[in-house]
Symmetry: C2
Subunit: 455 residues, 2 copies
Amino acid sequence: MSSPRIVVIGGVAAGMSAASQAKRRQPEAEVIVFERGDRISYGACGMPYNIGDPLRDIEDLVVLTPAQAHKRGIDLRLRHEALALDTERRVVTVRDLNTGIELEEPYDALVVATGAQAIHLPLPGFDLPGICELRELNDGRHIKRLIAEHAPSKAVIVGAGYIGMEMADVLTELGLEVTVLERLPQVIPGWDAATVTILMETLEEHGVRVHTSAAVTGAQAGPNGRVTTVTTQSATFEADLVISAVGVRPQVDLASGAGLRLGDSGAIWVDQYQQTSDEYVWAAGDCCEAYHRILRRNAWIPLGTTANKHGRIAGANASGSRLQFGGIVGTAGFQVFDLEVARSGLGEAEARDEGFDPTSVTIRQRSRAHGYPDGVPVQVTLIADRPTGIVLGGEIVGREGAALRSNILATALASHLTVSDVQNLDLVYAPPFASVWDPVLVAANQLIKKVGKTA
Amino acid sequence: MSSPRIVVIGGVAAGMSAASQAKRRQPEAEVIVFERGDRISYGACGMPYNIGDPLRDIEDLVVLTPAQAHKRGIDLRLRHEALALDTERRVVTVRDLNTGIELEEPYDALVVATGAQAIHLPLPGFDLPGICELRELNDGRHIKRLIAEHAPSKAVIVGAGYIGMEMADVLTELGLEVTVLERLPQVIPGWDAATVTILMETLEEHGVRVHTSAAVTGAQAGPNGRVTTVTTQSATFEADLVISAVGVRPQVDLASGAGLRLGDSGAIWVDQYQQTSDEYVWAAGDCCEAYHRILRRNAWIPLGTTANKHGRIAGANASGSRLQFGGIVGTAGFQVFDLEVARSGLGEAEARDEGFDPTSVTIRQRSRAHGYPDGVPVQVTLIADRPTGIVLGGEIVGREGAALRSNILATALASHLTVSDVQNLDLVYAPPFASVWDPVLVAANQLIKKVGKTA
């Protein structure tokens, strides 16, 4: 019997994690990665910060080079695009983008890690020079070069999600005048109003102009053929740089073409072993759903940290193991200027939509002890299911000690802790980094009054 | 029927928490606090940092003034010492230290919050001027005044526990030459050697001289009658300021005199409702034990955060509620210079002594993402029970993002999570405050290889 052939489609976070894990667990296997682009394994989440520093090369974000991958025994084929998948015959049709040659590549086990792609706004003028998306490493390189060569002075960011917020920060710091246009009535849609208030204050302090309920209608070119204005239904905004950051969609063409089951989210359905509806195909990363421990079903929340965990599980299981993915709880965070913003679990409206009976509190507590200098307010919003007292989620925001505190929530949510359990957590206390009642405990002490009959 | 009379002995963290909670839950109750000293409710843990800043008043550490306590409806009797307790007749004998008058005070419910006291080294010369302990607010005031008036230049700190370490920091920053003498073979006894190594490096970088296995034999006076040297069996150290910080012992005279049960630790035994062996007496804070969730029995780990939680429970239950204390997991942390040092759970040797079969790993991972500037190494030691895979404890040390990460362990330990559970935690990730694999996850990914049969 020949050595097994494990094929991975996609060579960024999830794909390279899967390939590395498979090769490590089954060294005799042939592990082949087909990657459409010319780079592998880069930290895409670091791109805004890298763009903010003209002295850093975008290549700094590459975690693993092709040479290092080869050294791990991975057969890496860059600029190879997977066109079709036949799960009956267990072959994937791949085109070498250098030569145009198409080949059928057989596999014993397949990992689909095709990721997600930026949503392209189908608006008039949205293909003008000066309008950029930010998803792949080449996008980041493009924006850096554009800033270096054209020295833009006015940026419009379309979309006020995490990337929009991070780009508002870095472009402001680079000296641009920044306007953010968000179609929905608030920035970071889905987050609690109390968090949004603090975030808006920070954006305002730094001179970022934010327009919500502002649906973009198009972009117009100036005499040089480059973007010069962006319009909404009611206004026109000058811009010599436009970042379109309105979200991503899972790249599922290969999977759906092969008849693999998609979930309600439109991403590839997987079980807790990252196995797709086909027994020889696993999926990992932004192209597929993830089991959500609070919802107790799959959800699609594409993030780098999940992609890495998925990759490890999918790679292990494609090479004969039987690891279970522990599930996500919806943790996410970002930094805007000096403000840390993080969440875990469900938002209150989302919880209500999901059939819970949520109640919540928002409190502020200093990041350091009473009498210790330089503490700042940390705001915690904590949400629980009223009848059961089980914590459903929370948001933490502040200029210090906010993001890492969301890990308390992430860990509590993984265990379905109640408000009373959280109230009793033995959290660390010392004046330089916490008050004797940690902000999370203060929130629990308040929320306990609003849930169940316990006290 | 007259209103119930709830008496609290001790007015610092646990006592004032208990009194406030009792009065809030049972406003008709008479709530009386007898406090031996002339201050209540101060943040004792903040004293080292306050001493480090000559411009701050030690009174800044007072969280609640007597006037505020009175406003809450608490009948506060300062400079009143509880001498004896008769649980049969439900009276406590109290002496007014101003007048010397002794009175029998009846109670319906009693909360004992007598705290702990500094261990006084019974060594020749250890009552010389210039030798200080640091436990009560007056101790802090005394040290501040001594520094201001005598401008000492050479300090010896006896004992390398948390307070010894914090004082080494603040005295060095104040310009003193600092020597730490520890009787045991390592600083912060009980902590992992990997943590101690980092801590020792930091102490050395800042010029703190540390002598371990150095048992102090006495202190000697100079011509001015003040301390001038400290001796061990093998050496003599110059010192015009000596901080004796060799630990504390629970103040249980009142409780043991009344026949209340003491635990194996020597502190007052309590059940999970903070009730002592007498049905009308509760205890809270440093004078009593606390239920330890990993040991599944009581332990004595006197810390301010536990004292506050205890106080809340004891006060509620003394006023007719039935709240359960969730238990501790042994979380503790401190900062020395720019180094954060924190732990939760058991140490490896302690775990072995307790009958577990522990195994551990120590890893280092940067505090920020690959390619993001200014990250520092965070070192995580993670300990688990080999056969079950249940996490038993961990230590985290680093110049950024170390202390708050110990809350991941504290929360995981409260739920008895396994290494595999920890490995799957959905922790926050964004380049400014975490790497895509958080240091705690990296440790779990390593430790999983050493436990059970899972992988």
